[in-house]
């Protein structure tokens, strides 16, 4: 018996050492190659090796796949793999009522029960706690040891294959092929034939276990078909990988060298890590001594003519503030990718939040606006980084690109664009001058207020620039009061004019006019998308628009806001974008904050929409 499903959300949960991230990634690859749409999210403790068997040591990998578009890893899971008692205890609250639990009974012994807090003799598998769920009890360790007894591997190494056994069961349960994983294992362990063989055997044994065991065969299997996606070549990317590739693609397209000055920080480090591996594309990464040097080396590289970027998260952005003011007044291109996390201070390093909007907008002394854009999905991190680079180079300005820990670590399929589809990026370099040419004016501007990029090594363009106020056009140090006012105005207007090249805000879903507009920004896209879809299905007059350009705003934003009776603004902060909207348009939107270090789920937003519309 095979039951068809449009989407399924799965959680792989176990101890940090149980290989849950690897297992989840394998499952995601298989699903992707099979053709379903998907979205993944890892959930792990900030400690590298928290005590085994305890709640704080639980590592999870969540994934939703479907035959229709999937925008989030799922608010709740349909099925949960619990490798031990702590994994079950930590995650049970997020399992759908009636959902499936595949429990490794070997992880529910007296020791694990004690460590998890259930207590010896109080196994949730036996005391009725799980009576509302479908529970498959599988003694995974015992079964793996039996299946791999003749491999000659040590018991320790055999036990390490337990996650592959579980993966095999899942492939059977969701009617998925095991070949993708077998191929991966072969190439991953190509120098360790015995390990490769054992892992492959474990996947097959798990699959067969599903096929041959009565409890599974009586329950039956599920099938989630491939999604109707645009034909083309796909890859899977996390937000951080996408950001790194976006920067590199922008450099290639602009004909520039990419330089990244950076200091490791959670959850942004993978951007530095990914780029440090892209030397084949000529990428230069510089792991600096601190956050300040991270951005300042980039400022130096930008002065030298590279597409320069830096990546960081909240505490690092705070440290970079002074340097960003320098880049702003120097008027050189610089891309800052800020992967937001829970703040203030060290806050919640591994948890997402959208609370760096204010510091991105206002976190510099003096009148120092910079363009701010925000990515909406893991794939969009690519396009946001690319667009940030384009604006930075073409407007000679630092640009802050906001992503967050949720987008950074989530993954989804990306339709691989062709180089021609990517927007052109055109640096405006000042040209070499001969002896008789008039003197070079480093702060002479074009009609957009943008100055030229004069690269050291070019004859006749020798010039000195710095953080001191500059005289209009000549760039010489000037303390003249009216000149300072003029330069301040010219710099601010230049940033405002970025609005000339950003697209109008589009209504993502719903009517052009109506009762309620849900206006989001950044990583809330998926949750709002689904919530609004559901509300529309339920007959509500509600629309969804999502802001990518926070500064400057799209030119038609005011007009759109005026087309609805009410505006709802969900944000993973205490209400930051809402301040900007109120200030700029003098309207009173309804704020909706969630500050728990967790993304919104669609149900929360849908409930809020229903509440508001009831009162209208």
């Amino acid at each position: 018996m095979v039951t068809s499903k449009t989407s399924v959300s799965v959680l792989f949960a176990g101890d940090s050492g149980d290989g849950m991230q690897l297992t989840g990634t394998q499952f995601a690859n298989t699903v992707a190659v099979y053709g379903s749409d998907l979205n993944t999210f890892p959930n792990f403790p900030s400690e590298i090796r928290a005590p085994a068997g305890t709640i704080s040591g639980v590592s999870g990998f969540q994934l939703q796949f479907g035959s229709e578009s999937v925008y989030t890893p799922g608010a709740k899971f349909d099925v949960m793999i619990a490798m031990n008692a702590a994994a079950l205890k930590a995650n049970l609250k997020n399992l759908h009522h009636g959902g499936i639990i595949i429990a490794n009974t070997d992880g529910f012994d007296a020791k694990n029960l004690n460590l998890s807090g259930y207590g010896e003799g109080n196994s949730p598998l036996e005391d009725g706690t799980l009576s509302d769920y479908t529970v498959f009890e599988v003694p995974v360790i015992s079964l793996v040891r039996k299946a791999l007894a003749d491999t000659g591997l040590s018991t320790k190494n055999i036990d390490r294959c337990k996650n592959m056994f579980v993966l095999g069961i899942l492939y059977w349960l969701y009617s998925l092929p095991i070949e993708t994983t077998i191929e991966t294992l072969k190439s991953k362990f190509k120098n360790k034939q015995d390990v490769a063989d054992a892992n492959i055997k474990a996947v097959q044994a798990g699959y067969n276990f599903g096929d041959e065991t009565e409890m599974f065969s009586q329950h039956g299997r599920y099938e989630v078909g491939p999604a109707k996606k645009k034909p083309g070549v796909y890859r899977r990317v996390t937000g951080n990988e996408a950001s790194a590739i976006g920067l590199t693609a922008a450099a290639k397209k602009a004909g520039l060298e990419l330089f990244l000055g950076s200091y490791p920080i959670t959850p942004a480090s993978e951007i530095l890590q990914t780029l440090s591996g892209l030397k084949k594309w000529g990428v230069k990464t510089f792991q600096a001594e601190d956050e300040l040097a991270g951005v300042l080396t980039s400022i130096g590289a930008s002065y030298g003519g590279a597409l320069a970027a830096t990546n960081t998260s909240g505490p690092g952005l705070a440290l970079k503030s002074e340097a960003l003011g320098l880049a702003m007044i120097l008027e050189i291109p610089l891309v800052v990718i800020n992967v937001q996390r829970g703040g203030p201070s060290t806050g919640l390093p591994t948890k997402p939040e959208q609370s760096d909007l204010f510091i991105a907008m206002f976190g510099r002394h003096g009148d120092a606006p910079v363009p701010v854009i925000a990515a909406t999905s893991p794939v969009d991190c690519f396009y946001a980084a690319y667009e940030a680079s384009k604006i930075a180079v073409e407007y000679m300005t630092p640009v802050i690109c906001l992503t967050d820990g949720y987008l950074a670590l989530s993954s989804e399929p990306m339709l691989v664009p062709s180089p021609e589809e990517l927007a052109s990026i055109t640096p405006k370099f000042a040209k070499e001058r001969k002896q008789d040419d008039p003197p070079y004016l480093p702060y002479k501007r074009d009609e957009r207020n943008v100055r030229d990029w004069a690269i050291p090594g070019t004859s006749g363009l020798e010039h000195r620039i710095g953080g001191l106020e500059k005289q209009h056009e000549t760039g010489n140090v000037s303390h003249d009061p009216l000149n300072h006012e003029l330069m301040t105005k010219l710099r601010c207007e230049k940033v405002d004019r970025v609005a000339d090249i950003i697209p109008d805000l589009a209504i993502d879903n719903g009517p052009e006019q109506g009762d309620l507009l849900v206006l989001g920004w950044g990583s809330t896209y998926g949750a709002i998308k689904i919530a609004v879809e559901e509300a529309i299905k339920g007959g509500c007059s509600v629309a969804h628009a999502h802001l990518r350009h926070i500064h400057p705003f799209p030119k038609n934003l005011g007009e759109i806001l005026g087309n609805y009776k009410k505006v709802l603004m969900p944000e993973n902060n205490s209400g930051q974008l809402i301040h900007l909207i109120r200030d700029k348009f003098q309207i009173e939107p309804i704020g909706f904050s969630k500050v728990q270090g967790l993304p919104f789920n669609e149900m929360e937003i849908e409930a809020k929409i229903t509440d508001i519309l009831k009162e209208l």
Binding site: N29, A32, V33, G35, K229, P231, G232, V233, Y234, R235, V237, I245, T248, A249, K252, K253, F259, G261, L278, K279, K280, W281, G282, F286, E289, D290, L292, A293, L296, T297, S298, G300, A301, S302, Y303, G304, G305, A308, E322, A323, L326, V416, P417, S418, P419, R433, K434, Q435, P456, G457, S459, G460, L461, E462, R464, I465, G466, G467, L468, N476
Partner: protein, 341 residues
């Protein structure tokens, strides 16, 4: 504007901005020698970038007709490091001070020195904060009375040379603003050294710390308080060149060459490649005013080491990665793992 055929002079390195340093400031002399050194090195104005932080000395770039960046306080070295990494072919010079490099920029300083990019660092040490009007600096002497130490400085001063050697410096030198030709020659050696070259300059601030280095510059006292290092030569000083430095075990001692029992052959021979001796020389840090029993203060090149430079090592890694061709945009976008729908 550079005529590439004829060699430039110091005048060609002079910008159209008038230096705004106080009359009598040691910075004027440094600027002049620096421009002369650049000319004598055969540099072209368009291939030189002077990067600085904040402070009196950090106004340096405005007065040199090359490319220049006047950055923010303490941060000249990371700006210069990023620039040099991106553009290894440029001649990058850093102008910084004792406050800029050693206090607010201390972290950048030690890391830039160990990383060993091919930078030339001119560290103006006047043992005071000048631009902020006379507060004590990390190199101010204990007891110095300033606006923020009315009862005398109780911060123990930093020893620039020892710090630089300890950070893994590959070219470490000290000069005085009064020693024009000597300073210029050291600048040239610094520029020719492949790696981060640090030249500490004792520079007099006539306004807030006038006479800080008189003990080394005063005509009467200089011969006894200073020791000029010359490669391969014995350490000899004194008005009559009759004092020498000798190692007594691990202890450097001053010996009287007039004494018949002392042979010149026993003297310490300066070897700028000898790290152990360089570290000992760095500790010749006595205050001649504090006691009669002092070692003279060394000037010149303490230490030189040939070591790989960061930007070349990075370029080599990139070359190796591109041995089978540079990555294309198509390859970048597709990655290693794709599927087709």
């Amino acid at each position: 504007m550079t005529d590439t055929l004829s060699k430039l002079t110091a005048k060609d390195f002079t910008s159209d901005q008038t230096p705004k340093w106080c009359p009598g400031c040691g910075d004027h002399a440094v600027l002049q020698q620096l421009k002369s050194a650049m000319a004598e090195l055969g540099l072209k104005t368009e291939e030189v970038v002077v990067v600085s932080g904040i402070g009196c000395s950090s106004r340096l770039p405005y007065y040199i007709s090359t490319y220049g960046v006047h950055g923010i306080h303490g941060r000249a070295l990371p700006v210069a490091s990023g620039l040099k990494t991106a553009r290894p072919e440029l001649s990058v010079w850093v102008g910084t001070g004792d406050g800029d490099a050693l206090s607010i920029g201390g972290n950048h300083y030690i890391h830039a020195v160990r990383r060993n990019l091919d930078l030339n660092v001119i560290l103006f040490n006047n043992e005071i904060y000048g631009l902020t009007k006379g507060q004590y600096s990390p190199t101010s002497k204990v007891g110095l009375k300033t606006v923020t130490s009315p009862n005398g400085v109780i911060d123990y001063p930093m020893n620039t040379i020892a710090l630089t050697l300890g950070s893994g410096g590959t070219f470490v030198a000290r000069v005085m603003d009064r020693d024009g030709k000597f300073m210029r020659d050291v600048f040239k050696r610094a520029a020719e050294h492949k790696g981060t070259s640090v030249v500490e300059i004792y520079q007099n601030c006539p306004i807030y710390n006038d006479g800080a280095f008189d003990v080394f510059t005063d005509r009467e006292r200089k011969p006894d308080t200073t020791l000029y290092l010359e490669q391969g030569q014995p350490l000899i000083f004194g008005a009559n060149k009759d004092k020498g430095i000798k190692l007594d075990g691990f202890n450097p001692i001053v010996v009287d060459l007039n004494n018949a029992s002392v042979s010149r052959d026993d003297l310490w021979i300066h070897d700028e490649k000898d790290m152990v001796k360089a570290n000992m020389l760095a500790r010749f840090y006595d205050d001649p005013d504090a006691s009669e029993d002092f070692l003279p203060r060394p000037f010149g090149i303490f230490y030189v080491e040939d070591r790989f430079v960061y930007e070349d090592a990075l370029d080599k890694q990139i070359e190796a990665a591109q041995a089978k061709g540079e990555g294309t945009l198509e390859e970048l976008l597709a990655g290693n793992n794709t599927w087709t729908i």
